[in-house]
């Protein structure tokens, strides 16, 4: 059973009283509720509807991953400096007869110069000893503050929302360097590709496919509008894993040079009706492979066909596309994404 999602950020409180008011909230709650937290999840956004958009999202996530959330809406353009705060909790009953598990949400609105006080607001309200995950929604700010970023354990972004990805990736790299190995970088666009990469990889467990992999001649990626960066990250993954280098072809078009000296061509095809995650077609001299997802389908259809052999066909999980599901898979992950930066570097000139 899930508590109904609410858009209200909860009870308004004085910033200096937040911990005390949270304590009172738990004292007054019935014995059937228990507070739980695995992580400090900070969400920072400058979107005007940030609170209304993220509160239901947090309520959904709380069902599977307990947290203390600090939802911060920054409004640096406001003329007057002001800080407002609210507290609420998201409770879920996992099994009949068990206690409800509750996650705390503290919401802040930072107006004007107060928006620059993000580090202070965050550091004052963290749950001690739990890791700090920061989901920065929208474009990253230039000139990152080392005093803040060195304390972030995981920085989550979504490159799909960036209007200038080349600059933003450079900033992301800069922030990661400030973290000196502490800060793990996570791009939700990359996370979104996990099941597609998994399905593609599975094809090449087949000996007949494996022996052709290094001679891959054509890559076709179909993506929905707004998902070009997703397609590029997938292409970058193939390029980095297969050690291709980007160069210009005979007609001036970008192609990949394979280690065997031959070229691999690619096309990114934007389709109105494509699933937001992609369909991929791979072409070999005497074989084809494809991974396709029906709109809203739970599975990818995975096919491999070699001339003269029986076709191979399988289904692979496609994962869920909702932001809450993608974020959950990232919250559950304790390791880094070692293939992310090599993949970005492989397609950097195309960004």
């Amino acid at each position: 059973m899930t508590a109904p999602a609410t858009i209200s950020p909860g009870l308004p409180v004085e910033v200096g009283e937040i911990e005390k008011q949270l304590g009172l909230l738990w004292e007054q709650s019935d014995a059937g509720k228990v507070r739980a937290s695995l992580v400090n999840l900070v969400i920072y956004s400058e979107a005007p509807d940030a609170i209304a958009a993220n509160t239901p999202l947090l309520a959904a996530i709380a069902a599977d991953h307990a947290f203390r959330a600090l939802l911060v809406q920054g409004n640096p353009a406001a003329e007057t400096s002001a800080v407002r705060a609210w507290i609420t909790a998201h409770c879920h009953l996992r099994e009949a007869g068990q206690k409800e598990i509750c996650s705390e949400q503290v919401t802040f609105q930072l107006d004007g110069p107060a928006a620059g006080r993000l580090p202070s607001i965050v550091f004052s309200h963290l749950d001690t000893d739990l890791p700090l995950y920061l989901w920065w929604q929208g474009a990253l700010h230039g000139d990152p503050d080392p005093g803040f970023w060195t304390w972030v354990d995981r920085l989550i972004v979504d490159s799909k929302t960036w209007s200038d990805p080349a600059r933003q990736f450079r900033l992301l790299h800069e922030i990661e360097a400030i973290g000196r190995g502490r800060c793990a970088v996570c791009d939700l666009t990359w996370t979104r590709l996990f099941h597609l990469r998994y399905a593609l990889a599975q094809i090449f467990d087949l000996p007949a496919a494996r022996e052709r992999l290094l001679q891959l001649e054509n890559v076709g990626i179909h993506h929905a509008p707004g998902h070009r960066i997703t397609a590029l990250e997938l292409l970058g993954w193939l390029a980095s894993r297969l050690r291709w280098t980007l160069e210009l072809g005979s007609r001036g078009e970008p192609v990949f040079r394979r280690p065997d000296g031959e070229t691999t061509r690619f096309r990114l095809n934007e389709q109105e009706d494509a699933a937001s995650c992609l369909a991929v077609e791979l072409g070999f001299r005497d074989a084809t492979a494809s991974v396709k997802r029906e709109r809203g389908g739970e599975f990818y259809a995975v096919d491999f066909h070699v001339d003269g052999l029986p076709p191979f066909s399988q289904m692979a999980p496609a994962g869920r596309e909702k932001t809450a599901d993608i974020l959950l898979s990232e919250l559950s992950r304790s390791s880094r994404h070692p293939l992310f930066w090599p993949s970005i570097r492989a397609i950097e000139p195309l960004l």
């Binding site: 228990v34 739980a36 695995l38 069902a63 599977d64 991953h65 307990a66 996992r94 099994e95 068990q98 598990i101 996990f194 099941h195 990469r197 998994y198 399905a199 593609l200 990889a201 599975q202 094809i203 090449f204 467990d205 087949l206 000996p207 007949a208 494996r210 992999l213 193939l238 894993r241 297969l242 739970e298 599975f299 029986p310 191979f312 066909s313 399988q314 289904m315 692979a316 999980p317 559950s332 390791s335 994404h337 070692p338 293939l339």
Partner: protein
């Protein structure tokens, strides 16, 4: 031969475990309950998670006259009933297309020859590469015939560049001689490295977490010895009676049904030394050392340290239930134990003098399996000067249900008066990690397909466990055997079991 992960560059960083090779799973005795309730739902869930090999076929070998189409339908119904997640029709259709029924008597050599031809055909059609995983899900009375025929037909021999493995379901024999005979029959057909003896308790998350708890946390391992531990209690209780298993249970009893395998495995994981690495043999070497250090119980030692009992009529879960001897299929004068409690000692440096109390029983008030580490009390100074005021610290590892870990400690109650009360810190898997826990069979099938034997019992483990249990059974069959005690259904066992612990100043935990 390289594994898919090693040879496929696209696999890097996608899974942090070995990827199973394409293979054919052959289930002997496939029309039984295990296939419907556990194996097929587990395979379906692995497919839904994308964890099955790129090519997987299942051949169901059984005596009854059925067709592949008809059997797929039966299995489809079972998958819908027993799968932990809803069945997707399209995925099931594709998955089931590679399930084949092979009708044959287990004793018929021709049935194995035709099986071989069928497997070769599947390899050619589906690219399963000659890899075979044979699963013994039949009655144990058929094991010898199946193993001999697999050997004689050459099916147990791995083809060049491929593997041939065997999964054996419990019981691994009924005593040491029969277990040794079975192991020899297995060894005649399959090398030990390709033999996977399933104890599904080892596939449970909390059992796997025991090693993580002990060896990935500084604080516990430092206290995990006779200097700090007063006793260890391992409990497996269930409210159910024998249900439809009277025929089996009458010949088995609680000692052989639960202690020889599941509870001794849990004891080994609790008591073993840190392995040199996480490889299958390093872990199993350490478990065997525990079994070898287990003080044998024979003769009067059994009378002093083992309580056996049987349930009488009682009241449980809101209804009256009959006594064991009144259950259908049970002899009216049966002396089969439905409850057993043991005081065990592990004679090694770490555990010298620490009793391990192990109990298992049917028709107990609650269902639960747990390991409780009871720590010693504090010295008799300060808060302990007058008497042993506090309950000592207890670390409880709950195996099922509600998998998790709790720790009891003393705390001062708020107020002017110094009053100390026990408080509990509790970790629930379900609370902290919301995602559904895979079934034990999913993990174990995946491991067998990947060639990882860590969570399976090795031959010497099984034989050492039988040797220990046989000593107790021999004493029970002796003329001076300790009597069979009785307990009412719905109680926590016989009074004699409480007295066993009282001798050490201990009491059973109430679950």
């Amino acid at each position: 031969m390289s594994t898919p992960t090693e040879s496929n560059p696209l696999r890097t960083d996608l899974v942090n475990r070995a990827v199973p090779d394409p293979c054919v799973l052959v289930i002997f005795g496939a029309t039984g309950d295990l296939t419907r309730r556990k194996l097929i739902p587990a395979l379906y869930n692995l497919a839904a998670d994308g964890n099955v090999p790129s090519s997987l076929a299942v051949v169901c070998f059984a005596r009854r006259d059925k067709t592949s189409e008809g059997f797929r339908e039966e299995l489809g119904e079972a998958a819908r009933k027993y799968s932990r997640r809803p069945v997707n029709d399209e995925l099931w259709r594709r998955f089931a297309a590679n399930i084949f029924y092979h009708q044959s008597n287990f004793h018929d050599a021709a049935g194995y020859e035709s099986l071989g031809r069928e497997l070769d055909g599947i390899d050619e059609r589906l690219g399963t590469g000659g890899n075979r995983l044979f699963y013994m899900a039949s009655s144990p009375t058929e094991f010898d015939a199946i193993l001999e025929n697999l050997r004689a037909s050459g099916l147990s021999r791995a083809k060049a560049g491929a593997w041939s493995r065997l999964i054996v379901e419990k019981p691994f024999g009924t005593d040491l001689p029969s277990a040794t005979r079975l192991n020899e029959a297995v060894a005649a057909a399959f090398p030990e490295k390709d033999t996977f003896r399933i104890d599904h308790y080892l596939g449970k998350e909390t059992a796997q977490n025991l090693m993580v708890l002990r060896f990935a946390n500084t604080v516990f391992e430092a206290l995990w010895n006779h200097r700090y531990v007063e006793n260890v209690q391992i409990t497996a209780s269930e409210p159910l009676g024998v249900e439809t298993r009277a025929g089996y249970y009458e010949t088995s009893g609680a000692l052989r049904d639960m202690v020889q395998n599941h509870l001794l495995q849990l004891l080994c994981l609790t008591a073993m030394e840190p392995p040199a690495d996480l490889g299958a043999d390093a872990v199993r070497d350490e478990k065997v050392k525990v079994l070898r250090a287990l003080r044998p119980l024979t003769g009067t030692g059994v009378a002093d340290n083992v309580i056996r009992a049987q349930y009488t009529a009682g009241f449980i879960n809101g209804r009256d239930v009959p006594s064991y001897r009144e259950e259908p299929g049970v002899a009216p004068d049966s002396v089969t134990e439905t409850y057993v409690a043991l005081r065990l000692h592990i004679d090694n440096w770490r555990w010298a003098g620490v009793p391990f109390f192990v109990r298992v029983g049917k028709r107990l008030p609650k269902s639960g399996t747990e390991i409780a580490i009871q720590f010693r009390g504090t010295p008799p100074v300060l808060f302990n000067r007058q008497s042993q005021l506090q309950d000592p610290n207890v670390l409880v590892i709950r195996i099922q249900p509600d998998e998790g870990i709790s720790f009891r400690m003393a705390a001062k109650m708020p107020g002017a008066v110094l009053q100390i009360e026990p408080v509990k810190m509790d970790f629930h898997y379900g609370t902290s990690f919301g995602k559904a826990t895979p079934e034990a069979y999913e993990r174990l099938l995946l491991d067998a397909m990947s060639g990882d034997a860590t969570l399976f019992a090795r031959r010497d483990e099984v034989e050492h466990a039988w040797k220990f249990v046989d000593g107790i059974r021999a004493a029970w069959q002796d003329g001076e055997a300790p009597r069979l005690d009785f307990y009412p259904a719905g109680s926590w066992g016989p009074r004699e079991a409480d007295e066993l612990l009282a001798q050490d100043g201990a009491v059973w935990r109430r679950l």
